[in-house]
């Protein structure tokens, strides 16, 4: 019998208040997730999905509660920039590419944050773009490619530093169904190959159904958790 896997992510009693506690974006949220798995975060707009992803990605700090990623307590992380570069990959709804950087340069950006040399950056970015079928578009600016291609490039950028966790906030929200499906398949395939944990905030029930676990949020609290047990 296999020993139980250690959770990659532990979220425990997480709260995020705004306006001095007048607005509670997250209320006592807790769950665990294992490496190589995919978790869908669903719920209506304003339920706290994006806030939760921001806290896990250290774009924001919780009011109370704890997040452990790969055993590392995020409250103890001093250099959030370095942490994001090393451990987290983001995919946003509107791709969020830097418009004056080519797709290749956009994919290189997280590696610049890690201080990698130019030659290594170029090689890895080219390899990553090839994996998302964008080798021919590497030197195009974001405005010169389609929305689906931009989002695939965003996936490549999110994965290029081999992050422990991939946070995708409505990654298909701005794409047609065919391109959306392709992006999700790509995201899951690439993340699985790298044993990365994937958290996808989505309104799309088909996407949620395709993932390993499903957490539904309402008014900042977890109302349903299917898949791995809640913490």
């Amino acid at each position: 019998m296999n020993a139980p896997a250690h959770p990659m992510l532990i979220v425990d009693g997480l709260c995020r208040d705004y306006e001095g506690g007048g607005v509670q974006a997250l209320r006592d949220v807790g769950f665990t997730a294992e490496a190589g798995r995919s978790v869908a975060l669903t719920g209506p707009s304003g339920c706290g999905k994006s806030t939760l992803l921001s806290l896990i990605g250290l774009l924001d700090r919780p009011t109370r509660g704890r997040i452990l990623l790969g055993g590392e307590d995020l409250a103890q992380v001093r250099d959030a920039h370095a942490f994001r570069a090393r451990r987290v990959g983001f995919v946003f709804q509107f791709h969020h590419m830097v418009p004056t950087m080519t797709l290749q340069e956009n994919v290189e950006a997280p590696m610049i944050a890690l201080g990698l040399g130019r030659a290594e950056r170029r090689e890895r970015a080219a390899d990553m773009l090839a994996q998302v079928d964008l080798a021919a578009r590497a030197h195009f600016l974001p405005a010169q490619v389609s929305g689906g291609e931009r989002q695939r490039a965003a996936v490549a950028r999110a994965l290029v530093n081999q992050p422990a966790v991939l946070l995708a906030d409505e990654p298909t929200g701005n794409l047609d169904s065919r391109n959306g499906q392709r992006v999700i398949e790509l995201l899951l395939t690439q993340a699985r190959e790298r044993a990365a944990l994937v958290l996808v905030a989505t309104h799309n029930p088909e996407i949620a159904a395709a993932l390993d676990a499903h957490i539904e949020l309402r008014d900042g609290a977890v109302v349903r958790h299917e898949g791995p047990p809640a913490a």
Partner: protein, 366 residues
């Protein structure tokens, strides 16, 4: 390439920034070139002819406005003999130049000045030897005449000292030149007495002797002559003021450009911070853009400064021979270094904004 693209995305603003820097640099480069060049010209002329000591009237605000009497010059001649060279120097407002420089020198000194054409002036013949630049500007040659002080003077030859200041003027016999500058009926006066000593120790001795024996006179080393000219000090103060204004103006222009870039690109900066870029990395990107614009402004500014010098040099009212028509590599490097330093200093305010910026707020920025 990213820097280029970022600079080119707001072309008009970048162009305005470059032109703003260029205007300041041009003014600074032209003004610096004039003062540096004037000093160098006078210094080189004094050095070329081995005038180790310059003696002038003590109370004169500047060696150029000094007046030495015949009695003082006779006493100096008795003390220093053939090592002494009396000189009359001044500018006249003539129809062909508002600042016509005329030197009165001894025939012995004139012989030391190399000729381009003709011969040196002959004493007693109301002749001048004309500087090469003046001859070119006035389209005159040896054998022709030039009007000075309402009289016609024959041009015996054309000389070239290598100093534009002197090559833009002319030299004649001391006595007649003294009469050009002296008021009607008054005794002719000298401007300076120059002494060739040969070495530093002898120079120091002459300076001490003059201080001791000629209380109305002042002797300075030839190397300090240009620095003793009050006009230069005024011009240098003016140039210093221009430099401060240029640097402040450049700092404001570049800071404004960078602040607008940060404001317009807040979301992009948020993206970069989300993927791990520190404020320092973002600042480096802005620094590259700032330096790129500063470099373009410096190149354009130096060209503008050069054009300014050439343009002003064509003006009749300025006279000729005074203005340098080129910028030295050192001057270009100085302006580049100053503007680059300002370009980097201009990053302070944007840096403060970046360090306060929260990635999440930046990502949500509309």
């Amino acid at each position: 390439m990213i820097f280029w693209r970022n600079v080119l995305r707001a072309r008009v603003r970048s162009l305005m920034t470059v032109l703003g820097i260029a205007a300041g640099v041009g003014l600074f480069a032209a003004a610096t070139a004039i003062t540096t060049d004037l000093r160098a010209q006078i210094g080189s002329a004094i050095g070329t002819y081995h005038f180790d000591v310059v003696i002038h009237e003590r109370r004169a605000p500047s060696p150029f406005s000094s007046k030495l009497t015949q009695a003082q010059m006779d006493a100096l001649a008795a003390r220093y003999g053939s090592a002494l060279l009396p000189m009359v120097m001044g500018t006249l407002n003539e129809p062909w130049s508002a600042y016509a420089m005329v030197l009165g020198v001894t025939p012995a000194f004139a012989q030391r000045v190399p000729l381009v054409t003709g011969r040196h002036f002959t004493p007693g013949q109301r002749e001048v030897t004309m500087g090469e630049i003046a001859a070119q500007r006035l389209n005159l040659a040896a054998g022709q005449s030039v009007g000075i002080g309402g009289e016609s003077w024959r041009i015996a030859g054309v000389y070239r000292t290598g100093s534009r200041l002197f090559d833009g003027g002319m030299m004649g016999e001391i006595g007649p030149v003294q009469r050009l500058f002296a008021p009607e009926g008054s005794e002719g006066q000298y401007t300076l007495a120059l002494v060739s000593t040969g070495d530093q120790a002898a120079t120091a001795r002459v300076i001490a002797q003059v201080a001791r024996e000629f209380p109305a006179l002042r002797a300075i080393p030839g190397t300090e002559f240009a620095g003793a000219i009050r006009l230069f000090r005024v011009i240098e103060a003016f140039v210093g003021t221009i430099a401060v204004v240029v640097l402040l103006g450049t700092a404001l222009v570049v800071t404004n450009m960078l602040m607008m870039a940060v404001a317009e690109r807040t979301r992009e900066i948020g993206i970069l911070m989300a993927v791990g870029w520190t404020p320092w990395l973002v600042l480096r990107m802005l620094a590259a853009e700032s330096l790129l614009l500063c470099a373009a402004g410096t190149v354009l500014g130096n060209l503008f400064g050069l054009a300014l010098l050439h343009g002003v040099n064509r003006l009749e009212s300025v006279g000729f021979g005074w203005l340098p028509l080129r910028l030295s590599a050192g001057q270009v490097a100085e302006s580049a270094a100053l503007i680059a330093a300002v370009g980097l200093l201009s990053l302070l305010w944007p840096a403060a904004v970046l360090w306060r910026m929260q990635p999440l707020d930046a990502l949500r920025h509309e």
